[in-house]
């Protein structure tokens, strides 16, 4: 068996283990072991991948394996990874690992929580290892549905409304996607669901023009494409901590990755012709998300809108269709995934202590819980793009890449998107100043404790990853660059 399948097998085995677990301790042991195993697998994969490349293996996808599943529709269970999916798998493994520790003490129904959490991870990992459209789509949907119960049961605030809205909007997106996939399958004339084979086939241009928007919007809904982003603030705000982390950190990346891997890779002509429409929409996402974050008072809403802005930037960069910007897009996915997970983890920890997320009721937390305070500052700085942290590398590449286009349209929109950096600084510094410094807002807060060991584990791992990307981005960016070539060549035709 191909070792990539372990990424799916481990969460499934975890579910089996959880099912048998009787006590809370057993549940925690299973979850922590499984998550650590996944993280180890992902790190191992990075080394194996780099090793293969260094040894001169130039295949588009490495570690490929396939076995026939549904012969009548040429559906294979086929897996394979390139630099981009390796990066995404690493991201997912980190977020799952830290997510488990962030939800160490759920309080009730732990078993069910972790069961759904594992199902969600199965979907996420499966999506990134698949190179078959059908299995990719299947994993995509597997990742969507646990969200409903995770938010509905363990969430807070208007959880039922948020869960339903999120599920229905994402399912509507996947409905478009399904039609797009069937269209690609039947109209490419290739009788294959394999991404690589489809990329070599020629889908007629007039077909591409209607398939591209279907697929792009279908994935774009998950990537918070304006005006289909409205599920995101409500969903993230209501979700429990680990789910917010996984959702904003990884699931939204499924959207970006899908747009890139399916929409742009398979339909390059339409991508070139229709990019402008989506550049306008994503431009709006970027700026609108940032402005909305300024006026929010709920910490989670602030971060949710900031995610809309940052994920908008991912799609924006992908649509620039050149190597620098796309590389930036992938880095941005990683960087945003990590820092947003850190944000949500910290917010969860703060909320768990103060029982409020309203920034007007918080203040001076740096004195009370210095560790969490410092972590929050680091996350904030990464988010506003401080050099040395991951955000800077990504945004730099994106804006340089998009400014490479010499025409007015692209340049104007690059400038517009650039303003988001300033706005980001405004809302991040506002929050940091308000909740961390100044006088303690509530007497009761003085008695609160700082982070405990599992919370520290989760935040430190994330901060290490963020700083790691910020300080040594080159190996990552090289790994991604090598895999971007086939896509760029396809786009340039």
């Amino acid at each position: 068996m191909n070792f990539l399948s372990l990424f799916v097998l481990v969460p499934v085995l975890m579910m089996g283990g959880l099912f048998l677990a009787k006590t809370l301790k057993q549940i925690r042991v299973v979850a922590a072991t499984g998550a650590s195993l996944l993280l180890a697998l992902a790190v191992g994969l990075v080394f194996a991948y780099l090793g293969e490349r260094a040894a001169g293996n130039t295949a588009e996808m490495l570690f490929t394996a396939k076995s026939l599943w549904y012969a009548p529709l040429h559906i294979y269970y086929s897996v394979g990874v390139d630099g981009i999916s390796v990066a995404m798998l690493l991201l997912s493994a980190i977020i799952v690992f830290t997510g488990v520790f962030a939800s160490w003490s759920m309080g009730f129904l732990e078993k069910e929580f972790f069961l759904w959490f594992c199902l969600l991870s199965t979907g996420v990992f499966g999506f990134f290892i698949s190179i078959d459209l059908f299995t990719m789509f299947m994993y995509y949907e597997i990742a969507l549905i646990p969200m409903y119960l995770l938010i509905g049961v363990w969430g807070s605030g208007r959880k039922e409304y948020a869960a339903m809205k999120l599920t229905l909007m994402l399912m509507a997106g996947s409905a478009l996607l399904l039609l797009g996939i069937l269209g690609i399958y039947f109209l490419s004339g290739e009788s294959s669901m394999n991404l690589l084979e489809l990329a070599r086939a020629y889908i007629p241009a007039e077909t591409q023009y209607w398939l591209f928007p279907l697929v792009f919007v279908g994935f774009g809904v998950l990537g918070a494409l304006f005006p289909f982003h409205t599920w995101s603030p409500d969903g993230h705000a209501s979700a429990p901590t680990a789910v917010s982390m996984l959702h904003a950190g990884v699931l939204m990346k499924l959207g970006g990755y899908g747009c890139f891997r399916v929409a742009i890779f398979l339909m390059p002509e339409a991508a070139n012709e229709l990019a402008w429409i989506f550049i306008i929409l994503t431009g709006i996402s970027v700026v609108y998300g940032a402005y909305s974050a300024i006026v929010q008072t709920d910490l989670k809403y602030i971060n949710a809108y900031s995610s809309v802005s940052h994920c908008g930037l991912v799609l924006f960069a992908i649509l620039m269709l050149n190597q620098t910007a796309m590389n930036g897009a992938i880095l941005q996915m990683l960087s945003h995934g990590l820092m947003t997970a850190l944000f949500f983890a910290l917010i969860g920890m703060i909320y768990g202590r103060t029982h409020t997320r309203d920034i007007r009721e918080l203040g001076g937390l740096m004195k009370v819980m210095p560790f969490l305070g410092v972590c929050y500052v680091i996350a904030g700085l990464a988010s506003l793009g401080l050099p040395g942290l991951s955000g800077f590398v990504a945004e730099m590449k994106i804006f340089v890449g998009s400014f490479m286009h010499a025409d007015t349209f692209h340049r104007v929109f690059t400038l517009v998107a650039c303003t988001s950096i300033v706005i980001t600084a405004v809302y991040i510094l506002r929050v940091v100043g308000k909740i961390l410094y100044g006088t303690v807002a509530d007497e009761h807060h003085l008695t609160l404790s700082d982070a405990n060991w599992y919370e520290r584990t989760s935040t430190i791992v994330l901060i290490l990853a963020i700083a790691g990307i910020g300080l040594a981005p080159l190996w990552l960016s090289d790994m991604i660059d090598g895999s971007l070539l086939p896509i760029i060549q396809n786009v340039k035709l």
């Binding site: 599943w69 549904y70 012969a71 009548p72 529709l73 559906i75 059908f134 299947m138 994993y139 949907e141 597997i142 549905i145 409903y148 119960l149 509905g152 049961v153 959880k159 039922e160 339903m164 599920t167 229905l168 399912m171 509507a172 409905a175 478009l176 399904l178 039609l179 069937l182 269209g183 399958y185 039947f186």
Partner: protein, 491 residues
Amino acid sequence: MDYSNFIYLKEELSLIAVIVILLLYDIFGSKKSLNYFQPVACLLVGVHLLLTCCPARAALAIFGDTPVADQVNAGVYPLLSGMYNLYPLGSIVKSILAIGTLIVFLQARNWLEGERTIIRRGEFYLITLFTLLGMYFMIAAGNFLLFYLGLELASIPMATLVAFDKFRDRSAEAGAKYILTAIFASGLSLYGISLIYGTTGTLYFTDIPAALTGSALQVMAFVFFFTGLAFKLSLVPFHQWTPDVYEGAPTSVTAYLSVISKGAAAFVLMVILGKVFGPLVEQWQAILFWVIIATITVANLFALRQQNMKRFFAYSSISQAGYIMLGVISGSTLGMASLVYYVLVYMFSNLAAFGVISIIEHRSGKETIDDYNGLYSTNPRLSVVMMIALFSLAGIPPFAGFFSKFFVFAAAVEEGYYWLVFIALLNTVISLYYYLRVVKSMFINKNESAIAGFRSDGYTRLGLVACSAGILLLGLLSVVYGEIHHYSLGW
């Protein structure tokens, strides 16, 4: 007369044997021995199922007739001078229906052991098997006469089943409604068939296509014929009877009605549309196009507001029939395979859901969605079974419903029905909303007075486990679909 042909009628003959044995048992069995009626009935149906499942080729090889076996595998083999058709896919569908019936039997115990029904429990099994026999004839028919015979045999006893709880007003009312609509529908079909006979001069499926010219009268004949089956399938606008009958009938009967009867009708419709009305393909595709859109959309919109679980599932099953029709309209090999597979998956999902409804209704007498609030806290296993059934119906992976929906969509897209599939897909989102409503009430809503926890009896549990296993495995194991596809014929 050459009696050797009867060997090939193994499905029908073994079912008749089962019926005769059960009938004698019911009449002559002592009161004490009748307590074992359910296990005996299940066992006999199981034996019959083994015979049916046994692939045609293997069965024929046992009797040493390999040339016929090859012919059967290659396509349709007419028997009894063309009256009866032997074809592998037909046997597959028959065994699917038999599996469904077996599960219904397993789940019926709770209800049948009630004080008012216990003296008549034998009738339930017998009448159900009679309707099953009628469906077998419909599937195997090579002539409109046999088809009509099967249709009547499947419809009229069904009305007595619907009215089985005659001491309950609702059940009696539902029985009356069912028999009136069923007879009306059969009448329309019969009128259509007579017009076909009038214009073509034959009732044999194989001879009719050559004589079909597409004249107005023939189109009218088709419309009448189609209307009759559409009643059975409860396609919009012929669906009005469904919610009332589903709500009034005993839950086990509702389950049988919503799955077995519907599945058989859908398959037969596809076979006849392809085999007999092939020359009128443009006309019936145009009709089906709008019928499908109306069925899926109207049923979904009505399902949104239902409170009673059985009415809710009535509308849900109407919309599911619309999805099944996507396989019919494509008319391809893929479409036929997808249809059969869809029916199989739908059967497991719906029977699981009805199994839960039935047992909860029996234990607590409650049947509205609000009564299910907080069910997970008291009956976690039943809630989980219900949830996977609902997810499967909504088409969520990794449950089998996802695969079956994908295949019918693929079949329709293959023939270029992009808009139709688009509308159907949007409707899956609506349907997800109402399926999630039930999930929400079971898992999320809090309830102080949730239905008390209980342990269900072994038979019911066996039935639910079988359904759950079907829902979980049918999609992931591609062999079932592969087998169905292998024997499917495009027309």
